[in-house]
């Protein structure tokens, strides 16, 4: 379905980022082996979403290093780096002035120079994968939230990324739509995509992730396998957090 790009490992060392006097990330380390899914959990304002945006250099880190497939990407062209990392947002952020198909094919056409026919074929294939091929011609605003998020996933996948980021991808969805989107994300992980999933869905983190990272106050407080994190929390902060959300 997706053009065969082998997923790569992603790691970051000692990432620091401040907005003015506000230290948002304070020395974050994260290590995502190729083909695995890491769920990032933590209270609001803990720096989870900022971490994702720093890892694909929407924000430039003040300090630290980011490695993709073992190689530092900080000196790469950030636009080209982001072509290798797909990202899905809480608010979908589909382009409302373009059709569903155009949303999916815009980047391949403009950045990978696919011709109209190729782009259309690719776009329809991606939409088929998320079950929305029949909605290709409509504007995104006519779709349900769950459908919009599926289109956003198809849009990210159309660039054949080596890593996928999900930033609270189901938080803005009506409860009955959450399950389907989570299933799609889990399926993607099962297919061998390297993924970082910022989520409030503890059930998902437990069942679909290979590793779970708990962040608080801009730092990684605990990390490990789902079983370690959810069953054998070492810190009070994690235990308190889990008692609130579970």
């Amino acid at each position: 379905m997706t053009s065969p790009v082998s997923p790569v490992s992603l790691s970051a060392n000692d990432i620091h980022l401040s907005f003015g006097p506000n230290a948002v990330l304070r020395g974050v380390d994260i290590d995502v082996p190729a083909g695995t899914t890491t769920a990032v959990i933590g209270p609001s304002g803990s720096g989870k979403s900022t971490l994702l945006r720093t890892l694909n250099r929407l924000y430039e880190p003040d300090r630290g290093d980011i490695l993709l497939d073992g190689r530092s990407v900080l000196s790469d062209n950030p636009d080209q780096l982001r072509q290798r990392i797909g990202m899905v947002f809480q608010q979908f952020n589909l382009f409302p002035h373009r059709s569903v198909l155009d949303n999916v094919t815009l980047a391949p056409r403009k950045l990978k120079r696919l011709d109209a026919g190729q782009a259309r074929e690719l776009g329809l294939a991606q939409l088929d994968r998320v079950g929305l091929k029949h909605k290709a011609a409509v504007r995104p605003s006519t779709l349900s939230g769950g459908q919009q998020q599926r289109v956003a996933i198809a849009r990210a996948l159309a660039m054949a990324p080596e890593v996928m980021f999900f930033d609270e991808a189901t938080s803005a969805l009506d409860p009955e739509l959450v399950k389907g989107v989570l299933a799609l994300i889990a399926e993607l992980g099962a297919d061998g995509m390297t993924m970082v999933v910022v989520t409030h869905e503890m059930g998902f983190a437990r069942s679909a992730a290979d590793a779970v990272v708990f962040m608080d106050h801009g730092q990684v407080v605990e990390s490990g396998t789902p079983d370690q994190v959810f069953e054998a929390a070492e810190t009070d902060r994690l235990r308190r957090f889990l008692s609130q959300v579970l």
């Binding site: 945006r53 990392i85 797909g86 952020n93 382009f95 409302p96 980047a107 950045l111 909605k135």
Partner: protein, 580 residues
């Protein structure tokens, strides 16, 4: 809508009352007047002939290639359309009148083509000084003040000032003018200087003769100090106004203005003037257009020019005086109003010109300026939200200046100020300058509209686009700007309507007959006839353009509010394509 209905209604009623006079036709020798008997004592000096040349260069020794003409072989003349019988535009759209008739004859003598361009008196001398025009022809009375700006030919006419007042006014002469009265003059004229300097009073200044007279008739002013030709040409029998007194100034003859340093052209025109005096052309045109007794001690041309042979105007005038001139009964206010707004013949006369000349020019001006405004406005908007202060800052300054200045100031500054600088580029044609001025002005507003539209697009759109790997400029172009523009379409349309109306201001720059836009076509015919109907006709053309646009704005706005729901067909069309 009700207004239009009312206007159209009044047309029908007023039609029979219309008996139109073309004020730009020669009145003929029968209209001759004697020297005004009610001449006020005027300031005449002994040095009257300080400027008149003793003799002229022989006509055949003039090298027409050395006259410094802006278009070689053609005399480009700046003139006005609204001061009959001296200068005016006739019903055929040709600039004529006594002054321009003489100039045409002189050009012929010299073997030059002649091209008249309409402008405003207030800018005429400056435009002559900057050589936008080779000659200024507008019954210009020479004064020392004016000689500091431009050079003058020998005199071809003389002037006295007339005092025009509403019928029955307590003002009976120049000596009755006093502070507290509203005394109308045309800005920049000798009459203005006379009222200010000689009478020591503060006049009400008007842009042109026609507006002063309209204001006098409606009693918005108490008196009008006018050049006598204008006064006698404008005040019609039956009008609620009369010429009450004249004053004469011998030392200030009437002449053509030429750039100070262009002595060859001044000499050539002087030679031509003497030549048409000698062959009788001057006398013929004088008798046709402005027949009145020459004041003692004055003749046209150089001192060596022959005294023109003229009919005995005093006798003709006396004869006409005795003949019953059918003293026109004063018209009622209502019939005056009906005639002023609803003269059907004038609508019929105006509409073809408005359609053939005015409408295309208005559209060309507006659309070209809109293109400049959109392109430059987009650049300003993008610069205005840039992170770099050296992009943001100039955009800010530009916007503040061009949004802060009145439209007419921008038009005049760019049209008249920049004109001489880029004269080579535009061939002294103010049309492109007008478009540039309108476009630069529109850009400031359009830039702000675009900026607000772009800034209203959610930050998530830019973030999603950047996350896909698009650069900042590409994200702007493909994602943010298209959405921003959609949101501000109604505001843009409104700006376009403003621009359409502002295009009328280009008339300040002086356009040749074929370049006139809607307003000036209406204005010229209005000036020619003293009737407002042509302006009403021009107004209707504007409304026919702007009202549909206004409704289009409302439609777009409403559609955007409802949201652009794709139809079932869109989906079907796509699935059909897939099946094929």
């Amino acid at each position: 809508m009700a207004l239009i209905a009312l206007l159209i209604g009044s047309l029908g009623m007023a039609a029979p009352a219309a008996a139109q006079v073309d004020q730009c036709a020669p009145p003929g020798v029968e209209s001759a007047s004697a020297l005004p008997t009610n001449l006020a004592a005027a300031a005449t000096g002994p040095e009257a002939d300080r400027y008149t040349t003793a003799t002229v260069q022989p006509l055949d020794s003039i090298d027409i290639r050395a006259l410094g003409l802006s278009v070689p072989g053609t005399l480009t003349v700046g003139t006005l359309s609204d001061a009959p019988p001296s200068i005016c535009i006739n019903s055929a759209g040709q600039f004529t009148g006594f002054d321009n008739g003489l100039l045409r004859a002189i050009a012929e003598k010299l073997g030059l083509k002649i091209n008249f361009v309409g402008t405003e008196f207030s800018g005429l001398l400056a435009q002559v000084a900057s050589r936008r025009f080779d000659v200024g022809s507008s019954s210009i009375t020479t004064t020392d003040a004016r000689r500091r700006t431009v050079g003058f030919t020998n005199g071809y006419d003389f002037g006295y000032f007339s005092l025009v007042v509403p019928t029955g006014s307590p003002i009976t002469g120049f000596d009755k003018l006093a502070a507290g009265q509203r005394i109308g003059v045309v800005q920049g004229t000798v009459q203005e200087a006379y009222v200010v300097d000689t009478l020591g009073l503060d006049p009400v200044k008007f842009p042109d003769y026609n507006t002063v007279y309209a204001s006098l008739k409606t009693r918005q002013i108490d008196a009008w100090v006018a050049p006598s030709q204008q006064a006698s040409g404008t005040v019609q029998p039956g009008d609620p106004a009369e010429i009450i007194e004249n004053t004469f100034s011998l030392d200030n003859f009437v002449a053509w203005a030429v750039a100070n340093d262009n002595l060859p052209l001044i000499n050539a025109l002087n030679s031509g003037l003497d030549a048409i005096i000698a062959d009788g052309t001057w006398s013929r045109l004088y008798s046709d257009w402005v027949p009145r007794a020459l004041p003692p001690g004055w003749k046209p041309g150089s001192k060596a020019a022959p005294v023109p042979q003229l009919p005995d105007f005093d006798a003709i005038a006396a004869e006409n005086e005795s003949a019953p001139s059918g003293a026109a009964a004063p018209k009622s206010t209502l019939s005056q109003l009906a005639a002023a707004f609803g003269t059907w013949e004038l609508y019929k006369q105006a509409i073809p010109d408005l359609f053939k000349t005015g409408l295309p020019n208005t559209l060309i001006l507006t659309v070209s300026a809109a293109v400049i405004g959109l392109a430059l406005g987009m650049a300003l908007a993008v610069a205005g939200i840039s992170r770099h202060r050296w992009l943001r800052w100039p955009a800010r300054v530009y916007t503040d200046i061009f949004r802060g200045l009145p439209e007419v100031v921008i038009i005049l500054l760019i049209g008249l100020g920049l004109g001489p600088v880029v004269g080579g580029l535009t061939g002294n044609n103010p049309y492109p300058l007008g478009i540039a001025a309108l476009g630069l002005m529109a850009a400031a507003y359009v830039g702000e509209i675009f900026r607000s539209g772009i800034q209203s697009v959610e930050t998530g759109q830019m973030e999603a686009s950047r996350a896909l790997g698009f650069s900042y400029p590409l994200s702007m172009r493909l994602v943010v700007i298209p959405q921003g523009i959609r949101r501000v379409l109604p505001a843009l349309m409104n700006q376009f309507i403003s621009l359409l109306k502002a295009s009328s201001l280009v008339y300040f720059l002086g356009l040749i007959a074929s370049q006139r836009e809607l307003f000036q076509v209406g204005r010229d015919l209005n000036a020619q006839t003293g009737n407002l109907s042509p302006l009403v006709a021009a107004g209707i053309f504007y409304l026919l353009l702007t009202i549909p646009l206004t409704h289009l704005v409302n439609y777009i706005d409403g559609r955007m509010r409802r949201g652009n729901k794709p139809t079932e067909e869109d989906t079907l069309a796509l699935s059909n394509q897939e099946m094929i």
